[in-house]
Symmetry: C2
Subunit: 119 residues, 2 copies
Amino acid sequence: MSVPLYQAKAEFFRTLGHPARIRILELLSERDHAVHELLDEITIEPSNLSQQLSVLRRSSMVVSRRRDGEVVYSISAPEVRDLLLAARRILLGLAAQLADLEPELTPPQPSGSQRRQAR
Amino acid sequence: MSVPLYQAKAEFFRTLGHPARIRILELLSERDHAVHELLDEITIEPSNLSQQLSVLRRSSMVVSRRRDGEVVYSISAPEVRDLLLAARRILLGLAAQLADLEPELTPPQPSGSQRRQAR
DNA sequence: TGATCACTTGCAAAGGTGTTCAATTGTTGT
DNA sequence: ACAACAATTGAACACCTTTGCAAGTGATCA
């Protein structure tokens, strides 16, 4: 293998590491979308959307085709959906753990709201 | 929820987006490791390793504790393991697709080692 | 106490990423 | 052929990350 797998993985995750790209993938994992449909859902400049789409295209996570004067994008690896779900599970799990350890943080508790957090 | 979920997800994936951090998580998902054990496995300056560990700590993906004069790290969300596996599956799937679409690019292989993998 | 080991932190240089605007391509309708 | 639309590209700038070195902390042991 030319590129070590852990490096390919890192690149892959970096590709996912942008809010707009996450939203795009979430929308596409429901159904194919034309660019202007994505624009309706995501608050972003058209050119910026295009940039993000091109990042996803470069990584082969999505493909585009032209249909009736629009460009339609689809997910090329349906398993991406599972990945996003797995991420949500982990995220919610971590959040729950945090809430557990520091229940005194969230509501504006007056007395001794000192945060100790192992520096 | 204060931070939109898709933004938290992006942050989460960005945390995974570094080769050293991937390796650390892979090692930790096998078993807990002391810092110097990680150093033996990963080719990296100690201070750099420390920085990467601190990124993982900040995101609550790992926790550290001191034991017998060493600092031992462990994974705090065991599901991370599934996530790494899911990533590998997708990565290998994408690679296979690429190999399929452009068999003429890599080696000039003549006879049919074709792989088909229906989009 | 002082030396040493095991890590961590601060910081500056270098490199990389994201955002926007303007310009461009390509397609469709008149 | 031209205008209008849809999407993309290029370039400049700001911002963030990574890296390595030097310095620092904090525990353990002679």
